[in-house]
């Protein structure tokens, strides 16, 4: 193999500056890592390293503050949007975002997220939807698909007893205070690129004071889905996207004019 001299080559992709260079506790192939990387890239590109305060939530990402090189606070389960509100209201010149999973945001946290969206709180929410409660071992989440087996729905989610999954983007997009609510996916390179653009748009929305922004990221959970990372990516494409269609659910006219 020819050894290429990297000194004379351009760097096409590298580890983002505001992502701490340590090995994370996330499982191999878990797209939490991908989401973290995209947020870190965005913060770097926008030069927000010293003006951002992140709000961590409870789930696999409870230690997310170890992986970002900027200020963070830790919220109780589900309360991150309220905590972010507290920070943003007293420090409106800072960029404040929450990073939440599906159990955190749309189960125990339903009250807080709906209220924040309703108020048009000028924060950004990164919502990781992997259809189960990962940290506690794979129980049913509000986003678990009908028929999907989890440790607390061992025979598959039975909609008669356990009801239907909650579609967070659709729900929050109906609020007038929500300015940018979109759903993207992290299952392949093309969609990851689109997700990155959406995350950038969300942070730009906040910077311009245009209201509440949320990017829902369909994500894999190889361990609790009992699949390899590649199979999990395929499963997501075949099963989750039909139920949770990708797209822009709310884009305020002023947000659609944002160019970067």
């Amino acid at each position: 193999m020819t050894t290429l001299d990297v000194k004379n080559m351009q760097v096409v992709y590298e580890h983002p500056k505001s992502l701490v260079n340590i090995s994370s506790h996330y499982c191999p192939g878990c797209t939490h890592g991908t989401a973290h990387r995209l947020v870190a890239e965005t913060i770097d590109e926008m030069g927000l390293n010293d003006t951002t305060i992140g709000v961590a939530s409870v789930g696999c990402s409870v230690f997310t503050y170890n992986y970002f090189d900027f200020d963070f606070v830790e919220a109780p389960h589900g309360r991150a949007p309220a905590m972010a509100t507290g920070v943003k209201r007293v420090r409106p010149d800072r960029v404040v975002f929450t990073y939440q999973g599906d159990g955190d945001m749309i189960s125990i946290g339903t009250g807080e997220i709906v209220a924040a969206a309703g108020r048009g709180e000028n924060i950004t929410v990164i919502f990781i939807n992997n259809a189960n409660y990962g940290m506690t071992g794979g129980q049913m989440a509000p986003t678990t698909l009908p028929g999907m087996k989890t440790t607390s729905s061992p025979n598959g989610r039975d909609v008669e007893n356990m009801g239907y999954p909650i579609k967070a983007s659709e729900l929050l997009a109906t609020q007038e205070g929500a300015s940018y609510v979109v759903r993207r996916s992290l299952h392949d390179a093309k969609n990851i690129r689109k997700a990155k653009k959406a995350i950038r748009t969300a942070f730009e929305t906040q910077l311009r004071g245009l209201g509440f922004s949320m990017v829902e990221l369909l994500s894999t959970c190889p361990t609790n889905w009992h699949m390899t990372p590649n199979d999990a990516a395929q499963w997501l494409e075949e099963n989750m996207i039909p139920y949770y269609p990708l797209g822009d659910y709310k884009v305020h006219p002023l947000v659609s004019e944002i160019k970067f």
């Binding site: 305060i53 200020d71 109780p76 309360r79 905590m83 007293v90």
Partner: protein, 372 residues
């Protein structure tokens, strides 16, 4: 400053503002809603953040966020709301950031009623949320005292990086009394070093209450407990009335103490050697004082508007050195001075040693008490 007629809830709101309150997040709940409404007008007037949250859960977490950002922040609520806030309070304590809470207590448990009570005593003075910590809890007995204590509480909470609770019963929140407001403090511009403000690298700060390694958790617990020791040494407060030659000591805080004072004055007028200790700090409790009093009095009567919660602190402090009895009204009822007077007269005539816990002795008498 002139004395003006102030409603308790409005008064503590104004006092907090003068103490340099930088943000208020709250939720309506009787009997403290006037404080929220007062803040909703006054805070925006002064250009300071105010928000009515979606619930007490939302409110306490907004307070948590603002506290992490290093600003003077408070909320106020009443008993059912306090229960909702317990989770947030525990997190705030575990993160070691300061805040002030005013708890305007009403009848309970459950939805209870909107009448005044002291039945949050256990929840606040003996608890405050899960985990190894106790908040500082002061119990004023008048509108002026509430104003003074709220004004000071921000400094105290910040000094110890802890939660400062001002616990009043619903009647103090609702009553109107003359009060003098303290001077308006300038808003602080600097934030404490531990506060998050946006920083990276060596300037990155993380505020969390999770310590997965038990050894790290214990270090945090120890840090919190050592500050608690300082609090117990420095922040005990109480008032004594007619105690110099007292043979019977009434112990009551807040409105229960105030009503008892009327009874004590009546009793003294009749020549009965009775005095009153009115704890202002119930956490830390004036244990040393009560223990010393136990050496010189023959009887202690604890008076509360609950089922006997401060009673347990008194029993512990007295260590069996003298007889402790209890008188309480529950469910939102306030005892009248005549009721306390009847107890004083009963005890003065000579009381048998109790053969059961003072609470049970009182409960056995409750039927006849309620029939009065």
């Amino acid at each position: 400053m002139t004395r003006e007629l102030w409603k308790g809830n409005d008064a503590f709101a104004e006092s907090a503002i003068r103490a340099g309150l930088q943000a208020y997040f709250g939720y309506p709940i009787t009997p403290q809603t006037e404080a929220l409404e007062y803040m909703s007008a006054r805070m925006p007037e002064l250009g300071r953040p105010f928000l009515q949250a979606e619930s007490e859960l939302g409110a306490i977490n907004m307070v948590y966020g603002a506290a992490c950002a290093g600003v003077r922040v408070m909320t106020s609520t009443s008993s059912p709301g306090t229960s909702l806030m317990m989770e947030g309070l525990s997190y705030i304590a575990g993160t070691e950031v300061p805040m002030v809470l005013v708890d305007v207590v009403r009848g309970g448990p459950g939805l209870g009623n909107i009448a005044p009570s002291q039945c949050d005593y256990n929840q606040m003075a003996h608890g405050g949320g899960h985990g190894d910590y106790r908040p500082i809890v002061f119990a004023p007995a008048s509108v002026q005292e509430t104003v003074d204590i709220v004004y000071e509480m921000f400094d105290i909470a910040e000094k110890y990086r802890t939660i400062g609770v001002v616990m009043i019963d619903g009647s103090i929140g609702q009553m109107m009394e003359p009060a003098e407001m303290p001077p308006m403090k300038e808003l602080r511009k600097e934030i404490p070093d531990w506060a998050v403000r946006g920083g990276s690298g060596n300037n990155k700060r993380t505020l969390t209450s999770i310590y997965l390694d038990p050894a790290d958790m214990e270090k945090t617990n120890l840090r919190i407990m050592r500050r608690r020791q300082q609090i117990e040494k420095n922040e005990v407060r109480y008032k004594e009335y007619f105690m110099d030659d007292a043979k019977i000591a009434i112990i009551g805080c807040g409105s229960a103490g105030r009503v008892s004072l009327s009874a004590v004055r009546n009793a003294r007028a009749k020549g009965l050697p009775v005095g009153l200790i009115r704890p202002i700090s119930v956490s830390p409790f004036p244990t040393k004082l009560v223990s010393e009093i136990a050496d010189s009095v023959d009887n202690i009567l604890v008076v509360e508007m609950n089922s006997g919660m401060m009673l347990d602190d008194v029993i512990m402090a007295v260590q069996g050195k003298t007889q402790v009895e209890f008188y309480g009204r529950m469910g939102g009822l306030i005892p009248f001075p005549e009721e306390i007077m009847a107890e004083i007269e009963r005890i003065s005539k000579g009381s048998e040693p109790l053969c059961d816990h003072p609470r049970n002795v009182w409960l056995d008498r409750m039927d006849s008490i309620m029939a009065r």
